[in-house]
């Protein structure tokens, strides 16, 4: 068993940086573990740069057949790597690819996997993976007592870590000739990119979010006015989508939506259901307005206002 913590370095995924930083944190606690990135593709000449994100070592698995993502081939290649080096921990981002690749690798290797974790904590002599269940109402602790590697997929945008140390990474180029004879059960037919996301809530510094309480045109106008005054991105909860005013899930905050990490988040008419608050854990300062004094959102807010969202938003926008 190698004293290594591996991170699957999915191309262009911000979560890789978060995982490498978290892995360094864990490595400090358990002592003398190397943090390694695993990169797959057909052109890995920049793989060493993963050292800048926090990897001490990079395993590069390069082959022409890995140009387009195909789960079965990627999983086979990773399985071979795992059998060869036997890392103790292996983390994936819970992206669309990660959520599919990780369980496939796990089934090939016959180990355990904690999915969609919102935190990884070392304690009680084991790695505890914190996983939301029942729509986020409860957080379960999942651990892998015996099987190795311990695997986890982690929700992007949630981990809170220190800045990772940079390294001049040691590059290990794997022999991928076995892939010359491998066939895939998947034929790649094409990729259609999304329309450009002009309303990028995930990177916004200021987010103004609408919940179920924003029903009238007047309250919606007040909210958009406020967002304009503070240069904020407009986001919403699933309950707001259910009111029918908007349909776009790409601006939705929550367990099945996005996570935001703004300097300022203003929640208007948001109740604070478990599924929603999962997505605001990294917001620095939160102001929430709701007419129900018992709304759960206040427990996740720095400042609270019990009142009519339309009136408060209008008054605030006017004074800004």
């Amino acid at each position: 068993m190698a004293k290594e913590i591996w991170v699957y370095a999915q191309k262009d995924a911000d979560v890789v940086k978060e995982l490498l930083a978290k892995s360094q944190e864990i490595a400090k606690v358990i002592g003398e573990y190397k943090v390694c990135a695993v990169a797959l593709g057909d052109d890995l000449k920049d793989a060493k740069n993963l050292g800048d994100l926090g990897a001490e070592k990079v395993y590069a698995v390069e082959h022409t057949s890995l140009k387009e993502y195909r789960c079965d081939l990627y999983a086979k290649a990773i399985e071979k790597l795992v059998q060869k080096y036997q890392p103790e921990y292996f983390f994936f981002g819970a992206t669309a690819i990660g959520s599919e690749l990780a369980p496939t690798v796990v089934a090939l290797v016959k180990t355990g996997l904690a999915a969609h974790c919102i935190d990884l904590r070392y304690g009680k002599d084991r790695l505890n993976c914190m996983v939301p269940a029942f729509g986020g109402k409860v957080i379960s602790e999942i651990y892998i007592p015996n099987a190795r590697p311990v695997m986890a997929s982690v929700r992007p945008g949630i981990l809170q870590t220190e800045e990772a140390a940079k390294y001049e990474a040691e590059l290990v180029c794997e022999d991928t000739s076995f892939l010359n004879d491998e066939t895939s059960t998947e034929e790649f037919l094409g990729f259609e990119e999304n329309q450009k996301d002009t309303n990028n809530i995930e990177d916004a510094d200021v987010v103004v979010s609408a919940g179920r309480g924003i029903t009238s045109d007047a309250s919606w106008n007040a909210l958009t006015q406020l967002a304009d005054k503070v240069d904020g991105a407009i986001a919403w909860s699933r309950s707001f989508i259910d009111t029918g005013r908007v349909k776009d899930e790409s601006s939705m905050i929550g367990t099945s939506g996005k996570s935001v990490k703004p300097k300022l988040l203003v929640n208007a008419g948001v109740s604070g259901a478990a599924q929603y608050v999962c997505g605001i854990a990294r917001a620095k300062k939160v102001i929430s307005i709701n007419k129900d004094p018992k709304a759960p959102i206040f427990a996740y807010s720095d400042y609270g206002v019990v009142g009519d969202a339309e009136k408060i938003l209008t008054a605030v926008a006017a004074k800004l």
Partner: protein, 268 residues
């Protein structure tokens, strides 16, 4: 002609999540008295199967792993239009994590038939691991895809998978396992005739002994590499300062807080 299997799961009704509590001593979930429903994504998988059957002919068989009461959800699946249903209910397979669950389901599938396409809901409302489609694929040695938003048969199953930056299209060889998301279709309302026919269809409950070629080490708790530790309620950890005063006074306070946090906007 296409033989389709659909894996469904009986889950606590999400409408009643408020009523779930945590036992303060055992730190385990208490979910008594909450009615069960078919996991929502699984309904979309059944709908996808109905459409594939309409286009290609064939049969739809439901499979599920759960307590005996899950029969009710299987009956409902038959009322939606499936042709037969099998439930594996046995202490031996209980306490399973997703790896052991998908193993059990794979053995159930191999025991009851030979299938061209196996559909599942992409994830369940309670555990939401989304592992089963991929792991089922590995156990069955079949092609597999998750996060599928569109699917149809054309010399293999053509699936559209949702990624963060866009959608990728793949043709999978059959047999294949596909995790269907709610985005894939709109579930049809049940037809009165189909509802009344449900009771005449095959609905069997099997035990572990009925499964073919089973390797016990992969079943149940024994076959589950991951374990559940304690459960805690999700709770906020901020000290919230509730602002007081008239509407105008509150608005003033909010403006000041906003200025403190993001600075004052320069007027052009």
């Amino acid at each position: 002609m296409m033989n389709i299997a659909v894996c469904i799961k009986s889950v606590p009704d999400p409408e009643y999540y408020e009523k779930i509590t945590i036992d303060p001593e055992s730190k385990r979930l208490v979910r008594d008295g909450i009615p069960a429903v078919i996991n929502e994504a699984d309904c979309h998988a059944i709908e996808a199967a109905l459409r594939l059957k309409e286009q290609n002919g064939g049969t739809i068989t439901l499979v599920s792993m759960g307590p005996p009461a899950a029969k009710e959800q299987l009956l409902e699946g038959l009322a939606m239009g499936a042709d037969a249903a099998y439930l594996i209910s046995d202490r031996k397979v209980g306490g399973a994590d997703s790896l052991a669950t998908s193993y059990t389901l794979s053995k159930l599938i191999e025991t009851v038939g030979t299938f061209d396409v196996i559909l599942t809901g992409n994830e369940s409302a309670d555990g939401a691991t989304a592992h089963v489609p991929s792991q089922l694929g590995v156990w069955l040695n079949a092609a597999h895809a998750t996060n599928v938003v569109d699917l149809y048969y054309d010399n293999g199953m053509v699936v559209t998978k949702q990624f963060e930056t866009g959608r990728g299209k793949y043709r999978l060889q059959t047999p294949c396992v596909i995790g269907v998301t709610p985005k894939a279709n709109e579930v049809r309302f049940k037809n009165v005739r189909t509802i009344l026919e449900a009771k005449n269809k095959t609905l069997k409950v099997l035990s572990a002994a009925d499964l073919k070629d089973v390797d016990d080490q992969y079943l149940g708790l024994k076959g589950s590499p991951s374990q559940n530790g304690e459960v805690e309620a999700m709770s906020g950890n901020k000290e919230c300062k509730m602002l007081q005063g008239t509407e105008t006074e509150i608005a003033d306070q909010v403006v000041e807080i906003i200025h403190q946090i993001i600075g004052v906007k320069e007027e052009a």
